[in-house]
């Protein structure tokens, strides 16, 4: 019985737990509660993926109102995959948060932190699960509002201004999305995605359709931090508490890309977006420019968090590139990279979090001799960094492989070459950190002191995942491939 209500439970559990956190107030109690909720969500999300892989699409009518009148939650391989990803990250990070948040966030704000964390989690899951266009906006705002609050919890006063700038951009993006959705409703009279996809083709010739898609895609591009709409991201990531940075880097932009995929492929359809509007001719150059510009910026950063933030912008370029290929291989590459990048970027930011806990700074200059001082943490950083570069045996290689294969499939070898060359830039910025950490002596020797074990555990779980999924690509690639086929409407 409870089985049938899995989709809604997945959203309601964290959503309802958030205010409960505020009521509980006591620090450890709140943490334990949040931990249980995240674990339960992880369980439900994995169950959902298994069910979807077995039985196909699950449709859940909210409150018993049948779609298209009521709101429908619709789970297929694509979003089951994203849901699982978000749940894994949330569960791993809540463990990390126990010592890390205790260090970086004022004690009287802890319960608020966990409340906002759960709210953000609920919002992201909501975006992924819903089959209703307007609902996407609502959940988007739930996650965004809570993430503004999460970022503002950072110790540095610059966190406030970063959060404010993100708020302006986020709201602008969300409002663009509302405009897009409103225009779609105006044309078709429905908000249900499945319904929209049936009725929109009749409107393809109209100018309204074009405008609606333009608003939607720009709005989502802002939320996904696609170059050049990424400017809110570096500061937000840099000054937020470490655990928040890791969480947002691994999930928020990824979910936005999911929403972009959903609107582009399921609602509008590849035929309209890519054949009529030629969107790919815009997307591919933009993503390539983004990859290079952001990677170059990453090279010159003096703060490790900012460096990684710019690298995130570059990595989003790779995902967009995969989407731009509009082929099963390309989309598979994009989707796999979405998953893989979440793993490795979370692992990297967690390693930074460990260092911040012990050293109190993520400035590159303070990382001298870190290889000796925190060898275990730096080992994780290097491994995840190798993954970022795309070294074989790591997940990064798997996604790059598919992207390059997709480019070659189309015969676009210059793009394949450019994508390959851009890895060199990743080598440079990862090397900058490694060089400082391993080859520069610290000014005054400090004893070896690692971060507490909960942080180590969650960091290594994610680092291990980057290695495991690099070898055992069965799960990720197969699911991504099915998802890609589903999005393109190709029957396997």
């Amino acid at each position: 019985m409870i089985d049938a209500h899995l989709p809604i439970l997945l959203i309601v559990a964290p959503l309802v737990s958030a205010p409960l956190c505020v009521l509980l107030r006591q620090k450890t109690l709140v943490w334990a509660f949040a931990f249980v909720v995240c674990l339960a969500s992880l369980g439900m999300a994995s169950l959902l993926l298994v069910r979807v892989l077995q039985d196909g699409v699950i449709s859940y009518a909210l409150g018993g109102w049948i779609a298209p009148w009521g709101i429908e939650y619709r789970v297929d391989v694509v979003n089951a995959f994203v849901l699982l990803l978000v749940a894994i990250i949330a569960a791993a990070l809540v463990v990390f948060a126990l010592p890390s948040a205790a260090d970086e966030i004022a004690a009287e704000q802890h319960y608020l932190f966990y409340a906002a964390y759960l709210l953000c989690f609920a919002g992201l899951m909501g975006i992924a699960i819903t089959g209703d266009a307007f609902n996407v906006f609502v959940f988007l705002e739930i996650s965004s509002l809570s993430s503004y609050a999460l970022i503002a919890l950072g110790r540095d006063r610059r966190a406030l201004i970063a959060s404010y700038q993100y708020l302006i951009m986020g709201t602008l993006g969300a409002t663009f999305i509302v405009i897009g959705i409103g225009l779609m409703y105006m044309m078709t009279g429905t908000l249900n995605m499945a319904d929209l996809s049936e009725r929109l083709p009749a409107m393809f010739e109209t100018r309204t359709a074009m405008v609606a898609f333009a608003f939607l895609s720009v709005g989502l591009a802002i939320k996904a931090a696609m170059f050049p709409l990424h400017a809110w991201l570096p500061n937000a990531y840099c000054y937020a508490p470490s655990v928040v940075t890791a969480f947002l880097a691994a999930t928020a932009t990824k979910v936005s890309i999911y929403a972009f995929l959903r609107f582009t492929f399921t609602v509008w359809g590849a035929e309209f977006v890519f054949e009529r509007l030629n969107f790919d001719a815009l997307l591919i150059p933009l993503s390539l420019v983004g990859i290079y510009a952001a990677s170059l910026s990453a090279i010159y950063q003096t703060d490790v968090k900012r460096l990684l933030a710019y690298s995130s912008v570059a990595q989003i370029g790779y995902m967009m590139l995969g989407i731009g290929f509009v082929s099963v291989t390309g989309l598979t590459g994009g989707m796999v990279h979405l998953f893989n990048h979440a793993m490795m970027k979370a692992a990297l930011f967690l390693a930074v979090g460990c260092v911040v806990l012990r050293v109190g700074s993520s400035k590159l200059a303070d990382w001298k001799g870190m290889g000796r001082r925190m060898p275990i943490t730096m080992a994780a950083f290097v491994l995840a960094g190798l993954s970022l570069i795309g070294v074989p045996l790591t997940v990064g290689f798997v996604s790059k492989w598919y992207l390059i294969l997709a480019a070659l499939e189309k015969g676009w070898w210059p793009i394949a070459l450019l994508a390959l060359l851009s890895s060199l830039l990743a080598v440079v910025y990862v090397w900058r950190v490694v060089e400082v950490a391993y080859f520069q002596r610290m000014d005054e020797p400090a004893p070896v002191k690692e971060a507490p074990w909960p942080m180590q555990v969650s960091m290594w779980v994610l680092t291990g995942a980057t290695l495991y999924f690099g070898l055992q690509t069965d799960l990720t690639v197969r699911v991504a491939q099915r998802a890609a086929m589903g999005l393109l409407g190709v029957t396997p």
């Binding site: 307007f134 906006f137 609502v138 705002e141 509002l145 503004y148 609050a149 503002a152 006063r157 610059r158 406030l160 201004i161 959060s163 404010y164 708020l167 302006i168 709201t171 602008l172 969300a174 409002t175 509302v178 405009i179 409103g182 409703y185 105006m186 908000l191």
Partner: protein
């Protein structure tokens, strides 16, 4: 034609005023006001699209007259709530920023952190 679409033109003008304010004013509160205007313009867009000319309010009564589409109005109710939340969060941030920097001009704030 132009007159028939008057309500939409009004929305567009409001939107542009809001956006212009957000861009042109370095003051953090004025930016929020601009953003608020922009959002409200979008709300108006929704509401006016639900209006059926000559229709009555969508309240159940016996005569079979045309009535306005209630769904956009309901949606905008949600959006208004979201807008209020955004605005209040933004203002709360502005209060904290004022406490930290003693100024509300964005360029000055960035200048102060620049070292």
């Amino acid at each position: 034609m132009t007159v028939g679409l008057f309500n939409y033109w009004a929305c567009v003008v409001l939107m542009l005023i809001g956006l212009y304010t957000a861009i042109a004013r370095p003051n953090l509160i004025k930016k929020l006001i601009g953003l608020g205007m922009f959002q409200v313009a979008v709300f108006l867009l929704y509401i006016s699209m639900g209006k059926v000319s000559g229709g009555t309010p969508p309240i159940l009564h016996t005569s079979g007259e045309a009535y306005s589409n209630p769904l956009p109005h309901v949606l905008i109710l949600t959006a208004i709530v979201v807008g209020i939340a955004t605005l209040s969060l933004g203002l709360a941030l502005v209060v904290r920023i004022w406490e930290a920097y003693q100024t509300l001009e964005e360029d000055e704030i960035v200048e102060r952190d620049h070292d």
